[in-house]
């Protein structure tokens, strides 16, 4: 017999023998994907329908930058260039058909893939970027890695006892073996021997129970700040679908950010047109309204809620308002009045203006709200949502921001 017997190796019964060699490389790849996503967040926020989705939604996002490159052909001669209307110099490939293929038959309409700048039109690997699937939750986490709420931890801290964390607090004479302090124990042994004059003996007295020292631990008291975010959105008639979408995108980012970063933060949603009411998260992100606009109604509602539930002495407060700035002019005075009060009460009052009608309110606000804890941003398209959001919460802002106290002091002086 020419062929020697084949060797068969059965599937190992124990899991430990089935090692996962790829784990490290998968983690490394994942890491690179995250980096690529972070580099492209503005595009992703603009392009991906993430608004109002729950955290376990899986979304597909294009990732640039981790594609592998090699020298390859893009364009190339058509040989004799006979193909009618053939793009000059494009690559030709061969394929098999079902037996009925005709000259001039269209294999694929070029609406999507054909525009591919890589020019790989016909080949299987025609995608110029690499698509990955990611849970919304994970995406949000990546997005907010660099951001933090400005002026946090200023107001009085609430002290909470966190049970998991213990801190060291000296030594004690009784304890469990796990908490034995070997160094201190030996030191007390040596001290006893020296005191008893037995230290020089070749066979000194052994360790006694009295010598044992244990580390003492006590629960750590963690200081947590109280924070509340007040989201105010203009839902009036002039806020058309696009504007509402932009405003919601903005608040969605804000809400996701706050929810992930600060477990103890409370969030209040207020929707207003000529009157305002407090709504649920779902209503805020999904319900539409119409009617005229009186921005002061939204601010008054916010001030009411602050007075009722979140005393500014104890709470770090953040208020964000999004509108197209199309306010009844008769309301402007009341609006500014309330805005000033909001500025006084809050660590930060952010105003996001979307595609303003006429001049909008940005200038009015800027003129009348001198404090640095007022932050106006504008965004006209979905591409601008993320930069605006970053401007509001990014590190660069915090560097030169002042607290309301400082503003107050400055004004008093």
């Amino acid at each position: 017999m020419g062929q020697p017997r084949a060797i068969f190796r059965d599937y190992p019964a124990q899991e430990s023998l089935r090692s996962d060699r790829s784990a490290g490389d998968r983690a490394r790849h994942r890491h690179k994907v995250r980096e690529a996503i972070r580099d492209n967040i503005a595009d992703i926020v603009a392009e991906q329908p993430i608004i109002g989705r729950s955290g376990d939604t899986i979304i597909k996002i294009p990732v640039r930058g981790i594609k592998e490159y090699r020298f390859t052909y893009g364009k190339g001669g058509d040989g004799d260039g006979k193909g009618e209307g053939a793009a000059k110099g494009q690559e030709q490939r061969a394929g098999t058909g079902d037996g009925t293929t005709q000259e001039g038959q269209i294999l694929k309409k070029g609406d999507q893939e054909g525009q591919d700048p890589g020019g790989e039109g016909g080949s299987e690997e025609g995608v110029d970027y690499y698509e990955t699937e990611i849970m919304l939750e994970e995406l949000v986490e990546i997005m907010f890695e660099d951001l933090e709420l400005p002026n946090m931890e200023r107001r009085r801290m609430r002290e909470t006892l966190s049970e998991r964390n213990l801190k060291r607090a000296g030594i004690q004479r009784a304890g469990t073996p796990a908490t034995l302090d070997k160094k201190k124990t030996l030191r007390s042994l040596i001290r006893r021997r020296l005191a008893g004059g037995t230290a020089h003996l070749t066979d000194p007295p052994p360790l006694r129970r009295d010598d044992l020292r244990y580390k003492r631990r006590k629960p750590k008291i963690k200081k947590e700040s109280n924070a509340a975010i007040i989201c105010i959105m203009d839902t009036s008639g002039s806020m058309d679908t696009t504007k509402k979408y932009l405003a919601r995108s903005f608040f969605f980012l804000l809400y996701q950010f706050v929810k992930r970063r600060y477990r103890a933060v409370e969030v209040v949603f207020i929707a207003h047109h000529t009157t305002a009411k407090e709504v649920t998260e779902h209503e805020f992100f999904h319900k539409g309204e119409s009617g005229g606009t009186m921005i002061s109604s939204g601010y008054k509602k916010a001030l009411g809620i602050i007075a009722e539930r979140y005393h500014p002495d104890v709470w770090n407060l953040y208020a964000f308002h999004s509108s197209d700035g199309d306010n009844f002019s008769s309301d402007n005075e009341a609006m500014l009045e309330c805005a000033k009060k909001l500025c006084m009460a809050c660590n930060l009052f952010g105003y996001g203006e979307i595609k303003p009608w006429g001049n909008g309110l940005i200038e009015t606000f800027k003129k009348n709200l001198p404090g640095k804890n007022f932050m106006p941003v504008t965004f006209d398209s979905k591409e601008e949502v993320w930069p605006a959001f970053k401007k509001l919460l990014g590190k660069e802002r915090r560097a030169n921001s002042r607290t309301p106290q400082q503003v107050k002091e400055a004004e008093d002086a």
Partner: protein, 491 residues
């Protein structure tokens, strides 16, 4: 484009758990298969089969079948992609994965049916025979393969663990090596000339040419490159001025690996066709239970069916090999019932010998050039296509009397290493800071600019001195330049 998978995979829907076989069954069927392998005169290395689960199979696929392979994020990417497809049931797993080592190692997935296991084993013996006998694999040293991969893997893992080097430094070197690894001498049968031999050649040429005086010759002999170098990783390993020892080592490892993959790329169609031809022959000759036989016919059809608009190497290879066999046996298409061919008698032996000769001396390009005839081209409805200015993909030629040869030329250009442009280093200018000059040896096709830019940047990561590449766009020569200031194009 060549795909660099070691072993050839074929996608099928994943099998449910709860297999209908035991190890004893596999051994017994292997016994029967080997009798036929002997009868047909296939010449194989010793064979080992390892039973694995689907997660392991995904892992083997990502690492080209070699679990001890050095780590790199691209394998993680490959794993994730395969796993996503598998989880979404877009594609199944390949039911065959063979490594061209000696002894040959192949994996059998435990979730597969008995029929698939038998089919896989029969198919694997076909590959095994091909690996052992085809000329392109002769230099691959299959005996030492697994040990070598292991040693290379450990060395790179050591560099990654070394606190003075670390993953962050090793990774860009591997990234660059991977981008350049297919820029390699095409024909492994052509031996590289040593520096001495190259010098001798130069001196001989100078002696015959009175115009070259001693001074000129001495200048020529003093150059780092005496002849154009097609092997870019070798060029970097031997001439890059600033590489550290560990970097040179990694470049060398990557080059050896590329040398191992080259024959796989060059023989995809002929090799898959060969294995499919023999699994069909063996399975049709085995006394299979009725249900298994029916399943085999379905599976076999799934393997060798054409993928519309593309080339399925199993399909093209199988049809071509079968035509060769029928031709050698003197059978016409009408006499072919699709069953096993009479390859065992005296005429059969002669036909087999003719086939064995072809499997020894051909790779995809030569195999198709000689054996893919008009009749086969028509039967498989092979056509050529390209994008229009609107970006539509349009068929421009079909295999009719007038155009089949043109279509065939298009096909021949895309098989094997045909999709990889030839780029040669033609000069290292020592006086100008080791500036490297590259030339794209151009046919009709142009370089993809995006890929060229990134690949050159990778090259610069290792060369670390200015590099320029000459190529043509719309018939006009242009230079791609990369230096400390980045990438630029000069018309």
């Amino acid at each position: 484009m060549p795909d660099e998978k070691v072993a050839s995979g074929k996608n099928l829907a994943p099998q449910a758990e709860g297999a209908d076989w035991s190890m004893t069954d596999l051994v017994a069927w292997d016994e029967r298969i080997r009798v036929l392998v002997d009868d047909f005169g296939l010449d194989c290395f010793e064979q080992e089969f390892e039973v694995c689960d689907h997660e392991q199979m995904l892992g083997f696929m990502a690492y080209h079948g070699m679990p001890a392979h050095y780590p790199h994020w691209s394998f993680g990417k490959s794993f994730e992609q395969q796993k996503t497809y598998y989880d979404l049931q877009v594609s199944g797993l390949p039911y065959e994965m063979v490594i061209n080592s000696n002894p040959s190692v192949a994996y059998l997935m435990r979730g597969n049916s008995l029929c698939l296991q038998i089919l896989t084993m029969a198919h694997v013996y076909g590959h095994n025979d091909f690996f052992k006998n085809n000329f392109t694999f002769r230099h691959t040293d299959p005996k030492g393969l697994l040990a070598r991969i292991n040693v290379h893997g450990n060395r790179i893992r050591d560099y990654m663990a070394d606190p003075s080097i670390g993953v962050e430094k090793v990774e860009p070197v591997l990234d660059a090596c991977h981008a350049l690894s297919l820029q390699i001498s095409r024909n492994p049968a052509v031996k590289r000339l040593s520096r001495e031999k190259q010098e001798d050649r130069l001196i001989d040429a100078a002696n015959k040419d009175p115009k070259i005086d001693d001074k000129k010759l001495a200048k020529e002999l003093g150059k780092p490159l005496l002849e154009a170098e097609e092997d870019l990783l070798i060029l970097i390993r031997d001439h890059a001025p600033d590489l550290k020892d560990w970097e040179r080592d990694i470049v060398n490892i990557a080059h050896q690996e590329a040398m191992y993959f080259l024959p796989q790329i060059e023989t995809k169609i002929i090799n898959e066709g060969w294995a499919s031809f023999w699994h069909h022959q063996i399975m049709s000759s085995l006394d299979l239970p009725h249900g298994t036989r029916m399943e085999f016919m379905v599976r076999h059809h799934q393997v060798i069916r054409p993928t519309p608009g593309n080339i399925n190497p199993y399909h093209l290879g199988f049809e071509t090999w079968r035509a060769i066999a029928k031709d050698a046996l003197g059978l016409s298409d009408e006499e072919d019932d699709g069953g096993p061919l009479p390859l065992l008698g005296a005429t059969g032996k002669e036909a087999r010998q003719a086939m064995f000769n072809i499997r020894e001396v051909d790779r995809d390009v030569s195999f198709l050039r000689q054996h893919l005839n008009e009749n086969l081209m028509r039967k498989m409805d092979i056509f050529s296509y390209g994008p229009t200015q609107q970006g539509d993909l349009v068929v421009n030629k079909v295999s009719d009397e007038e155009n089949w040869q043109s279509v065939k030329q298009t096909l021949l250009r895309q098989v094997g290493m045909g999709g990889v442009p030839i780029i040669k280093a033609i000069d290292i200018d020592v006086k100008r800071g080791h500036k490297l000059k590259l030339l794209h040896e151009q046919g009709e096709r142009e370089l993809d600019p995006e890929h060229a830019r990134h690949s050159l940047n990778h090259l610069f990561d290792l060369w670390r001195r200015p590099v320029d590449l000459e190529t043509k766009v719309d018939g006009k020569a242009i230079l791609y330049l990369v230096n400390d200031e980045g990438f630029s194009v000069k018309e």
